[in-house]
Each structure stands twice: as structure tokens, then as C-alpha cells.
């Protein structure tokens, strides 16, 4: 095998599984250590720089980092990365002094952000301190987008949104209330660049018999949720059916339970495991006494002279056709008629750009999505950029933030007359953590604890008030214990073959049998003859050049605990534990060419 090129920033970055998986590449282990040290302000600021909404995300993030977390491979459950983020937000002090100040001198460039969701707010946050004049437009009077209009308050209190959206607006960003009806008009307003962050605002319809007749009691999930958020809807029938298995369905059913729904049922076309909602969302819904019924396809809304009476479902099962594609076919059993007073339709979300004129030079695909570059977020109109749900369809907050950062880099480069396609490399740093023979700057004693549960408000109380936050968050003691479960994957094992005397001490001590000294071979074959087989192909092998005995050192990164025992046992310092820090480059000096 070719010796590993550790100079490539991706190599050590991939070892930090959580950071690699985080769309915004938040330096997770760094903030978790700061939480363990009680340095909540610093932990918050690391998050704020990377993901802009730590308090919001610490409650609502889709957390792609957690399925990736190494701890989940070493034992059963990943570190509660997301809820630790909330800890930083909950226990921080006044951080105003740590935030950037509004620019005192403007650079003369004006940027329009359309929509005030997380994508636009990220663009605004990144650009305003650099001297850009940023105007954010939204049809709603408040900023926050779907974070404010869709996510129920029992998951995300208004105060948290106000605070974190406020930090952005306080940078001198103007919020202007306006329903955008013409792209031409926006382009004519003299902005140097326009960022489209209008989200995916349309809920998918369910056109089955009875839809029109019983319309009064059939609601589109996302429209209903925003009405609930703004207080326009305050009640619902006693018996509610929620159609759909995604996040929206979960928020609809739990909101219904709080607004008078006594018997609330979620009905899904496919199986439980295939539902789009996250496992914890399903758990929370079931925990509130909401059954989830599977393999039922809605066939008809029944009504009594226009008054909804229920929904008829056809029972189906999954089969595979000749090409291996999955198909739902009727089982032939009798249909099921479930009675109800109201139905919430949460079967999907769509983009809609009726306000972008078709003669502007932008091409749209058959789903009505404009052509947008996946790296630069630039559209076919050079000064128009897209991001968030508006770019490639509905995703989530952290992706909207990640898009916002990249789009801000593009806008900055564009306004400075640079090539937006030349992307800046991240800033990396690798520093030894050794302080003594058996002393490291980090706590390398591996905690055996299993994942701690976040305390919840008692269901009797939580179900009475739609604004009462269900999760109470970790207290400082639980937070410390959970933080100790983190394996510090950013403290990398770094091998220097020139120093190795092939004493085998590292092989013998490694608790996970990660290290092997063996004759060279090609990767597939080598993976089979290591101290322990390296079956996880998504994880790299770290290999050295040939050592004096002609063997090479091979380390399987997969299950390394970052305990540092190899480095403690190495007589020559051939292994060292070095902290890898990677900060993605954001808009500003760092992203501009140095020429």
C-alpha cells in the first residue's frame, strides 16, 4: 500500500467522525472537552462560529454526527453530541463581548437575502461583520424561517430563537417585511448579490376522494403547524389522524395531543423502520400515547354531508419487483375505516418558485428546481446564489447553515472580483498533547458509562401546555458524565516510522487490537490479516512506509479509542497523540486569494 498522506487535511478530519459528518464541520470533541471543563462560554462560541444556532440546534438538530460517532461502534450508543451542544447554550453567561461587532466601516457592497430562515441568516452573519450591507426579506414579521414557524414550541422555545436570531440581526443586518413576488423586481433593486433562502414552503397534497368535500377538517401539516405557531389555531378535534411518517407528521401528532386531540393516530404507508422521522422522534411520539400504524394507504376521506367522519385505508405489504425495486401491493384483506374528527396531511414538502420569471436565463428541472452549482451555490445568473431548502429541496437546519457558509464565501469572492470556483482550503493544526511520561493535556481515561438520558418534563404537565418544553436538558453533573463518554477522536495517533524500533509494545497494549506490523500487501488482502480484521471499509487504514525489518505499520482507524496507550508504551515516541484542529474557511480574508 501507499503510505498514508497525513498532510491531506481530509485524512485526520475523517478520523474525527462527528466533525466529518457534521455538514458545518463543527469541532465537536473540542467543545465537548470545554463542557467537561465547565467552560460553557467557550464551548458555545466554538459552536456559534461553526453552526450559528447552538441553542436551537442543541434541541432540534437532525444530528448526522451521532450515527457517525465512534462511540456507537465501540459500544452501543453514540455520545449525546446534540444535547451537549444545548448544555453549552443553557449554561453560558453573557457572551455579547465575544461576538463580532457590527462593521464600523462599510465596504460599499449590498446583499439581499430572500427569506429569513437559517440559510439566509448564516449568509448575513458571515457577511455583515465584513462590512457588507445585508438586507433580509421575509413575508413574516419575524426572522427564523421554519425554525420559528414549523418547529413546535414544546421542542424549541421562542426565547431561544429570539436570542440566537437576535445575535445575527444585531450585527447591523436589516430585516425587511416583504412578500417577494418577482425576481426581476429584486434584481432591479441594485444589490450586488442576491441570496435565495426561501426554503421549501409548500406542503404536498393528497388528492383522494372526499378531499374537496371534507376540506374543512383536512389540513396541510406545515400550514397547520405555522398557524399553531402564530396562535391562529388553538384547538383540534378529539380524534385526529396524521398521515405521513416524517418529521412534520411527528410534530403534527404531538401538537394535536396538546390542543385537544385525545385519540391521535399516525398512519404510515410503509413500515415503521422505513419512516423518515428520526428514531428519537418516533420514541417521543409513542411515549405520548400516540400509536403509529403501518402498511396502510389512504384511499378515501369519508364524510357526512361535508363533515369529515374518517379515512378508509387499504392494507398493503412490500414486495420486490424483478428489478429489485420495492413496491407496495394490496394484501387483499378488507379495508380499514378509521373514524376521526380532523386529518393532518404530512406527506411531503415541495419547493415553489412561482415568483422567479422564466425569462431571466435560469433553467429549471422537471421538479421546478433551478440549476445551482453544488459547491459554489451560484445559479446561472452570476450574482444570484441559492442555499438551504431552496437549493436542493427540503433538508434541515444544519444543512441550511452549511449552505449559507459556502454561499457567503462565494458571495464574498464574487463581490471582490475573484473566481468563486477556487475554494479555500480549511485551516488545520496538529499539536502534540504530551505533558509527561504518562500525562496528556486531555483525559485519556476511557469512561465505561452508557449514554445518559436527557430528563423530560412529566407527560401530564407537558401535554397540557403546547409551549412547555418537554426536554429539560442535562444538568451540569449529567453533562459532565456524558461529556466524559467522548473519545477525543481529534487527538490523533500520529506515527513516525523513523523512530520506530519495532518493539511491538504498541501492538500488545492496544485494547482494540488496532495496530499490526506485517509485510506489505494490497489493501483488500491486508485488511484480512491484521491483528484484528478490519471489516469496516468506510474507515481508513493508516499505513507507514517500510520499516527496517521490511514490514509496514498498519493501524485500523475504525475502533481506536484515542486512549493514547500506544503512545504511552512506545519507548521512542514513534507514536504521539496530537490534537487535530480543523476550521472550515468562512467568508473574509481567509477565503480570498492572497495574490
Amino acid at each position: 500500500m501507499k503510505p498514508t498522506d497525513t498532510a491531506n487535511p481530509d485524512y485526520f478530519h475523517k478520523v474525527v467522525d462527528c466533525q466529518w459528518a457534521c455538514p458545518a464541520h463543527t469541532p465537536v470533541p473540542e467543545y465537548i472537552r470545554l463542557i467537561a471543563a465547565g467552560r460553557y462560554d467557550d464551548a458555545y462560541m466554538i459552536n456559534w462560529k461553526s453552526n450559528v444556532f447552538p441553542g436551537i440546534l442543541g434541541r432540534t438538530c437532525d444530528r448526522p454526527c451521532e450515527p457517525a460517532c465512534r462511540r456507537g461502534r465501540v459500544e452501543e450508543q453514540p455520545v449525546a453530541i446534540c444535547r451537549l451542544k444545548r448544555v453549552a447554550a443553557d449554561y453560558k453567561g453573557d457572551i455579547h463581548a465575544l461576538l463580532p461587532k457590527p462593521a464600523t466601516t462599510k465596504n460599499g457592497k449590498r446583499i439581499a437575502c430572500l427569506g429569513a430562515g437559517p440559510a439566509s441568516l448564516t449568509v448575513a452573519r458571515d457577511l455583515a461583520p465584513l462590512g457588507y450591507e445585508v438586507v433580509v426579506f421575509d413575508q413574516d414579521p419575524f426572522a427564523g424561517g421554519m425554525m420559528r414557524t414549523q418547529i413546535p414550541k414544546f421542542r424549541l422555545p421562542e426565547t431561544v430563537i429570539d436570542e440566537e436570531v437576535g445575535y445575527v440581526l444585531d450585527l447591523g443586518v436589516e430585516l425587511r417585511r416583504k412578500k417577494i413576488e418577482s425576481m426581476k423586481e429584486m434584481l432591479g433593486m441594485g444589490f450586488d448579490a442576491v441570496f435565495v433562502g426561501t426554503g421549501a414552503p409548500r406542503g404536498r397534497e393528497l388528492e383522494i376522494p372526499g378531499r374537496q368535500e371534507a376540506a374543512a377538517n383536512i389540513h396541510i401539516g406545515i400550514d397547520w403547524l405555522s398557524s399553531v405557531s402564530f396562535g391562529h389555531v388553538t384547538g383540534i378535534g378529539k380524534r385526529v389522524i396524521v398521515l405521513g411518517g416524517g418529521n412534520t407528521a411527528m410534530d403534527c401528532c404531538r401538537s394535536s395531543r396538546r390542543l385537544g386531540g385525545e385519540s391521535v393516530t399516525v398512519v404510515v404507508r410503509s413500515g415503521f423502520d422505513e419512516m423518515k422521522a428520526s428514531p428519537w422522534e418516533k420514541e417521543d411520539a409513542q411515549g405520548e400515547g400516540i400509536p403509529i400504524l403501518n402498511w396502510l394507504v389512504p384511499k378515501e376521506f369519508t364524510h357526512d354531508n361535508g363533515k369529515l367522519t374518517g379515512v378508509v385505508f387499504e392494507k398493503v405489504k412490500a414486495t420486490r419487483d424483478a428489478k429489485g425495486r420495492r413496491d407496495l401491493v394490496p394484501t387483499g384483506e378488507p379495508d380499514e375505516h378509521i373514524l376521526c374528527d380532523d386529518v393532518l396531511v404530512a406527506v411531503g414538502q415541495e419547493n415553489a418558485f412561482p415568483w422567479i420569471e422564466k425569462d431571466l436565463g435560469m433553467t429549471f428541472d422537471r421538479w421546478g428546481m433551478p440549476k445551482v452549482d453544488e459547491v459554489t451555490f451560484q445559479s446561472e445568473i452570476p450574482n444570484v446564489f441559492f442555499g438551504g431548502d431552496a437549493a436542493f429541496g427540503p433538508k434541515n437546519i444544519i444543512w441550511a447553515v452549511a449552505h449559507g457558509h459556502e454561499a457567503a464565501v462565494s458571495i464574498d469572492k464574487f463581490c471582490q472580483g475573484e473566481n468563486v470556483k477556487e475554494r479555500p482550503s480549511p485551516l488545520t493544526n496538529l499539536v502534540s498533547q504530551k505533558m509527561g511520561i504518562h500525562e496528556w493535556t486531555y483525559d485519556n481515561d476511557i469512561a465505561n458509562d452508557i449514554r445518559y438520558k436527557v430528563p423530560h418534563r412529566a407527560a401530564e404537565i407537558a401535554l397540557k401546555d403546547i409551549r412547555a418544553e418537554v426536554e429539560l436538558g442535562f444538568d451540569d453533573k449529567l453533562a459532565f458524565k456524558e461529556a466524559q463518554r467522548c473519545l477525543n477522536c481529534d487527538v490523533e495517533t500520529v506515527f513516525e516510522e523513523k523512530l520506530c524500533i519495532e518493539c511491538d509494545a504498541c501492538v500488545d497494549i492496544c485494547p482494540e487490537d488496532c495496530i499490526t506490523f506485517a509485510p506489505d500487501g494490497d489493501e483488500a488482502e491486508l485488511r484480512g490479516r491484521l491483528t484484528a480484521p478490519a471489516a469496516n471499509l468506510t474507515q481508513d487504514l493508516y499505513v507507514s512506509a517500510a520499516l527496517p525489518t521490511t514490514r509496514i505499520m498498519i493501524k485500523d482507524e475504525d475502533l481506536c479509542l484515542h486512549c493514547g496507550f500506544c503512545a504511552e508504551r512506545c519507548p521512542t515516541g514513534a507514536w504521539d497523540m496530537r490534537k487535530f484542529r480543523l476550521d472550515t474557511t468562512q467568508a473574509g480574508d481567509g477565503c480570498r486569494s492572497r495574490a
Binding site: V74, N448, I509, P511, A532, C563, R569, C570, P571
Partner: protein
Amino acid sequence: MSYLAKPKFHHPAIEVNQLGFTHRDYEGAISTLCAGCGHDSISAAIIHACFELSIPPHRVAKMSGIGCSSKTPTYFLGQSHGFNTVHGRMPSVLTGANLANRDLIYLGVSGDGDSASIGIGQFVHAIRRGVNMVYIVENNGVYGLTKGQFSATADQGSKSKKGVANPDSPIDMVALAIQLGATYVGRSFSGDKSQLVPLIKGAFEHRGAAFIDCISPCVAFNNHAGSTKSFDYVRAHNAALNTLDVITGRAPITADYEPGETQTVKLHDGGMIRLRKLDATHDVTDRAAALAAIHRHQSQGEIVTGLLYADEDSGDLHDRLGTVDRPLNRLGDADLCPGVEALERVNAALR
């Protein structure tokens, strides 16, 4: 300084042996020896040998004397019996224990100082009595624990860390063991587990006095240029006679070699050792040839390693003494005191 316990987590695909144990179950407390010490590699080799043989840890008695090497039993087989004797006295204590309870598996771990210097008198008698044991000398040529004085196995001319040459001639432990009647004798190197692990396994399966001299570089006091016990020196002068596969009576035979290249040594329990000969002329069952090979390689400046000598028809101390099969420590009053009548009969026979 902190010495943390080794993390409990292990590889999810970790192998288990016939007893359902993983190799991690054969570990002991965390080692406090210097990082990189050859002794730790030998501990790891013992762990792997016991794991692979599915030895029940609670049936093993680890005996040792004084020295860094003699400390190591703390670092492996944490579930086994153990005894640290005074310096150099392990062989006698082991002999006594073996006499009292012949059912345990005896593992003597010692150093070159412990066995060749202060304990040489003890060593020779345990070997010549044929005590059923595995006796490993972790040979670094120095007294590691007392900071690196030459031991009795240090080669003449080998230099100390400060550059002083050793004036005395060395004791060759393997030659001595063969002369004393050991029935399984090998030499190995802590840096070569592929040779050492099977050699230890063969020793465990052997009945009688099995002796292994394992060169084990002391990284703190004897791993410099000019030393003949350093990693570099041993690697450069290692003359291996053979590699071996230990096939227990319980496991199927899989290795497949060309005839003539291999030699088979029968083991007590019906298993065997398959030797792959690197030196085609060497017959491991020939004592004289073994001694000759040791001297020949030594005169060429080489360190001969591998299984040097094995006696297929070996016996042990208990065979020689004709003791009962039941361990002496399990004999009750009734067995030991057969009564006045029996005494009368014995006395009458002697009149």
C-alpha cells in the same frame, strides 16, 4: 505519573477460545515496566499462548523471583495463582508447589540475574529433577531492576551503557539446561512473537522440565550500540533453526508441508509439534546435535533460536518419585495415616 487501567472495551470481532474467553481475559494489571521493554512482549506472548491453548486461567500457578522480569506475572493471567519468591528462589518454591499439587500448570518466570546469577544453584536442581513446568528466563543480560549491572548471561565484550566492556564469559542457559536434562529447550526473541508464541505453547503441552531462554532487550539499560542484547543486534544475528506449529490433540491438523522439510515431535496428550526446518540438518530430538548447533552458531557470532531440543519420551519428578496420581495436598488423614496395623506391618517388614 498516572498508570491508568487498560480500557475495558475491546474489538467487537474479537476471537474467543474453547472456554469462551478472549485474549483480553488472560491479561493482568497494567504493566509498570519501561515503555518498550521486551519483558512486556513476552507477557503478551504468554497471554496469546494460554488463550490459544484454552488454558483455564485458574489452573495456572505463576511463580517468579525478583527483578523486572519476575514482576511480570502481575501483568498477565490476572485470574491465576501467583507467588513472588525471594531473589533466585523461585525454582525451589515451584518444585515444592508442584510436589504438593501436581494438578496445576506451573509457569516459572525469571530473569537472567534471578536464574543465572543469584539463583543458579536453584535453577540447576529444578531442571535436573525434571519438574513438570514451563520455565522462562527473560534474558536481557543485565539486572534491569537495579539499573543495569551486567548479569551472568552478558556476553564477554558486550558494552554497558557507559561503554565499559564485560570481562567475564557468559553462562549459556540453553546449553546448561540441555546438559542438566531438560526435556524441552528453546530460545527465542521477545521481538519475534511468531516464533515465541508457538514455542511457549509447545512448552505448556510438554510434560517435564521445559525451558525457554528468551532474549528480551532492556530499553533503558541494554539497547545501545555495542550491546549484544539490543533489538538491532539480535535481529542482525538471529539464526533460527525452525519455525513451529503446535497441534494439540484437540485441534485438527491443517498445516501442509513438503516432506523432508518438516519434523514432527509427539506431545504427551496425543498432539504434536510440526517443525518447519530452516536448518535441514538439525534434528531436535538429538541432544548432542542440539549442543553442537548451539556451539557452532555461537562461534560464528550468531544467536541460535527456535526449538533446540525436545525429548518425546520425557517424564517428570512425580514419575521418578512414584507419587500417587492424586495431588498430595488432597490426601486426607485416612490416606496419610493408615493406622496402627499398617504401621505394625511396615515395622515388621523392616525387622
